[in-house]
Symmetry: C2
């Protein structure tokens, strides 16, 4: 099992040197997020994730959650670790002061979430889902609901879930069958079965607050007849204390490929008491508020898995002696060279490194945009942040989860046969991270959201603020000889991105299926260019820091990794461009009944 | 769990229509391999794999093999299925008549191996490894050894293993420590521990014949001091009957990501009795004979996994209703359209289909080359087959295992969240097939074998016969308007392949690491072009058959799938070419100690 070390140096590089969080926090009025405070929190989070969360990752996978007579038990150590998480005040970090939170910025919390997820994907999902439930109630609940439910969710003594999927509908929520009937007391009675409910039942918290979508009889069919409800596992008195058990039960848990320590539950509602959140039939709109945050959280999981795989792979690649370097012996005193001398092993390691660090920069940037949408007073600035968040969220979600899967797979390959053995931990990372390509909308769904709904839906306007940022960066650095090559490449790729967008848009006017035909390749192309922009920004910072003296090796490594990204990762975009060029006709020509004989 | 149906129509298309096996068998003197015989065997094999082997695939994964006090037990049903396999005479099919085999061609057996592996990867490995042991003894053993060991291996009542890896050496076998000391009776006494021994112990057969590499004291260090031994689990009397237990024991089995129903064993030799095969210190050369066959078998596993994933995905994609087609409602009487209408789902299905069928054609072709190397009398023809086999074996092994992994991952994606759940069977396919990217030499090792040892090592000469074949095919079809686009594309890509080869060769003269830097992208580029050639050949056959009448839908599907391959898969090669262009410098610049801070 690889030992997890929180990459504090790089997290600080992204937060402070790349994204100037001091200035950002100051401008947004986060006065408590001082430099000292940020440093202290990061350090404590590193300690907590390394010493408490990471050590139970492997046993969590081995034991998994167990279900007996409707009760779910988490693996050894999870209950204690969760208690420490709550006692340490971690759930409260970026929550509203009004409800007992510390009022610190979301972006600081995101850095900690990365550590949590890298240390233990399954564990990190429990608080992650609570955040979603909490944010939904905070945005759309009544004052009474907020008082009843939010403080306990903030403190972490209760956890939350999102109950959307049913067995016959995942992506297509309009088909849901769970119904909610109005009771005399103004509450609703919910009946139906939800599946794939992560953290749907467990033994970590005193109560579980389910956010459930259901249809009120008489509502329109499809997605316009969906309403949103709070359905607690235990009913809650007006003062927020726990009352009797609600008619919510866990029917079973799934046997899965990974994230075994997080129970994926079938949840049955049998005339369970629920409370409407927001307006009747506006449930899906309320959900979407939450959905973007959830997708960013998944993007972060991909980055975290890549970091974890990189750490394990790097340690092994330095230690494992096998074969001699093709360009001459590098370890003359040993029986063979460490495998890190072999170019193809370096290719895989640098792929992991460039994706982990590039992903971290992208996520860091997006989480600052989230800060802006939360508290910025200037409406225009908030709107611009919203636009770029909308553009980059599906890109980050799909790109970083797919690359997280690729990079954990590189981890398995670097370990050779040992990578396939559970003991070494690499295959668990791969199994765990595959879920990130699926939940909160598959890669295909992200790609359609990006290309159909957002880019073509806005006639490309959604691209403008981001393109303007890239253009400004290129102009600022045009005179820097160290940056010339990257700036040129970035310019060429951005231009190609715009051309591809125009071409697909034109073709789609003749045949709407061209959108779906291009979508995933389009997203990957856009994603590689987006990461290239963040890599160029990081290299520019590294060059300027190099001149000043300290920490030369760190900045030099950034520059080398950027070079690798531009030379060996970004060119993959050419494959995607060529596939998009191939169009959709060859995908649609074959009748469904003739796929197999 | 997807139901497996042997793709008999397509197997026959490849064997008969594409590769004219009747003529091929006739020319090689395989007089028993008549058309009727081939048809009957394929049909029986389909029945056996569908009804006996496939049904125990899922339970095999769930139960796995168990180890108790040195004894390995296979999952429920495996013992009975293996008995049926032996009783049906399947192990004897392509074995030498002299030892009780049926003397049928290897290429016919390969078609059956595909069915076996698609139905149950873990099960198929048991006979697969026996073939390896058997082939090694047949090629290098003494007459006495052949008489003692081969008949039982042919009949399947004994199985075999290959014992190469030790904990500190996998790729780098020169570092092995297992020693073999000469005894007074001319046998050897072996001491050491081997790991990762597939089928190393189990309860399916009466005896297990281990083929073991070890060092005789006083032999040169490194790979030039390795000898090869037969070490049976039970000693064998001169007449081939079983004697007492040898000092070979299974120390434990690995807990793995997949292929759980095939025990991966630690095998301890404690002064075990062994018999030298071949010459002293020539063990590695003897192994290489076997290695190529093993690598082809792994390529076949990738194709098989792709086919199995395709079948499951296709059934689900036709059945699962979710969302409406972006180009207009396709299933007006249902609550939603089947997901096969969505272009991105079709992209994944057609990727699976084009790789399964393309891979099948490539494997079919290679297995005919194996037939030629086995029995062709004309030395020049045999040498030419050998050359092309040497070229295409690492390509097929790495390309088809990597694409098998990709295509099983598409299976998971097509199933959405359900893909992550064990019950549906898609995630098992993915876990099982990941091993194919690792064993018998990782993808990185195949790529080095291809580019360093074979292509640059022969100054490109090894490419010539294959390039000549492609050139001849292009010329033959130049006048066919239906083929013009594909022929042009193929010509362009082949030219680019040659240019890339020349460029890498030139760069490598300045820096040998350029080879390792380019190798995996080079292999993938070559692989996509190789499959394009087989797709073009299949399309040419389909066009000519279409003119004649029957089975129009089948041939039309071939043509559509070929179109998809050329438009949407082959262009990926451009991404690989662009990455190769990036060179190795950016991979080597970062000192090992500066990868992490």
């Amino acid at each position: 099992m690889p030992e997890y070390k929180a990459p504090i140096r790089d997290i600080k590089f992204v937060m402070k040197e790349l994204l100037d969080c001091d200035k950002h926090y100051h401008q947004l009025g986060y006065d408590d997020a001082t430099e000292d405070m940020v440093d202290a929190i990061l350090l404590e989070a590193a300690k907590f994730t390394e010493q408490v969360i990471a050590p139970i990752n492997q046993i969590g996978d081995q034991q998994g959650c167990t279900w007996t007579d409707g009760v779910v038990t988490t693996p050894d150590g999870f209950k204690d670790a969760y208690k420490q998480y709550v006692d340490g005040g971690w759930p409260t970090l970026s929550q509203n002061v009004e409800f007992g939170g510390q009022g610190l910025p979301h972006s600081l919390n995101a850095a900690i979430s990365e550590m949590m997820s890298a240390a233990n994907h399954s564990f990190a999902m429990y608080p992650g889902l609570s955040h979603g439930a909490l944010a939904t109630i905070e945005a759309h609940g009544t004052d009474k609901q907020k008082q009843q439910f939010i403080p306990k969710l903030v403190e972490g003594s209760w956890t939350g879930t999102m109950c959307l999927t049913e067995s016959h509908c995942g992506t297509d929520l309009g088909m849901l069958r769970t119904k909610a009937e109005l009771s005399d007391d103004g509450s609703y009675s919910l009946t139906g079965t939800k599946i794939f409910i992560s953290a749907g039942d467990h033994d970590l918290s005193d109560n579980i607050v389910h956010i459930v979508i259901a249809r009120i009889p008489g509502s329109p069919e499809g997605s316009k007849g969906i309403s949103l409800f709070i359905v607690p596992k235990f009913n809650v008195n007006d003062d927020g204390s726990i009352a009797d058990r609600n008619a919510v039960s866990c029917g079973s848990i799934e046997h899965k490929m990974g994230i075994n320590a997080n129970a994926t539950c079938v949840i049955n509602f049998d005339n369970a008491k629920g409370y409407l959140i927001g307006e009747v039939n506006r449930g899906l709109n309320c959900m979407f508020t939450f959905m973007n945050a959830a997708r960013l959280a998944v993007a972060l999981e991909g980055t975290a898995a890549t970091e974890a795989a990189f750490q394990g792979s790097l340690a092994y690649a330095k230690d494992r002696l096998q074969m001699r370097s093709i360009s001459g012996i590098k370890n003359p005193n040993g029986p063979a060279d460490p495998i890190i001398v072999h170019p193809d092993v370096r290719r895989m390691l640098l792929t992991q490194k460039s994706i982990a660090e590039g992903g971290r920069a992208l996520i860091g940037y997006l989480s600052q945009l989230v800060d802006i949408t939360h508290v910025e007073k200037d409406e225009a600035k908030r709107a611009e942040a919203d636009t770029t968040l909308a553009l980059l969220t599906p890109i980050a979600k799909a790109l970083l989860s797919e690359l997280g899967f690729e990079c954990t797979s590189h981890g398995v390959q670097i370990f050779g046969g040992h990578g396939f053995i559970k003991e070494w931990g690499m295959e668990q990372l791969m199994r765990d991270t595959k879920i990130s390509c699926l939940y909160e909308g598959t890669t295909g769904i992200q790609a359609l959201d990006l290309l159909a709904r957002k880019i073509l839906g806005s006639k490309g306007k959604i691209l403008q603020p981001f393109m303007t940022d890239i253009g400004a960066f290129c102009q600022e650095n045009a005179g820097n000889p160290a940056m010339t090559q990257h700036i040129q490449a970035l310019g060429t790729y951005v231009k190609q991105w715009q051309e591809i967008t125009a071409n697909v848009g034109k073709k789609a006017m003749g045949n709407a299926d061209e959108i779906g035909g291009a979508s995933v390749d389009y997203l990957m192309f856009a994603g590689y260019v987006t990461l290239a922009y963040f890599w160029a920004r990081m290299a520019a910072v590294a060059h300027s820091k190099l001149e000043n003296g300290d920490d030369k090796a760190f900045y030099q490594a950034k520059i080398h990794t950027c070079e690798f990204y531009f030379k060996r990762i970004l060119p993959r975009a050419q494959g995607h461009a060529a596939c998009i060029e191939g169009g959709v006709d060859s995908m649609m020509a074959l009748p469904s009944e003739d796929f197999a004989f």
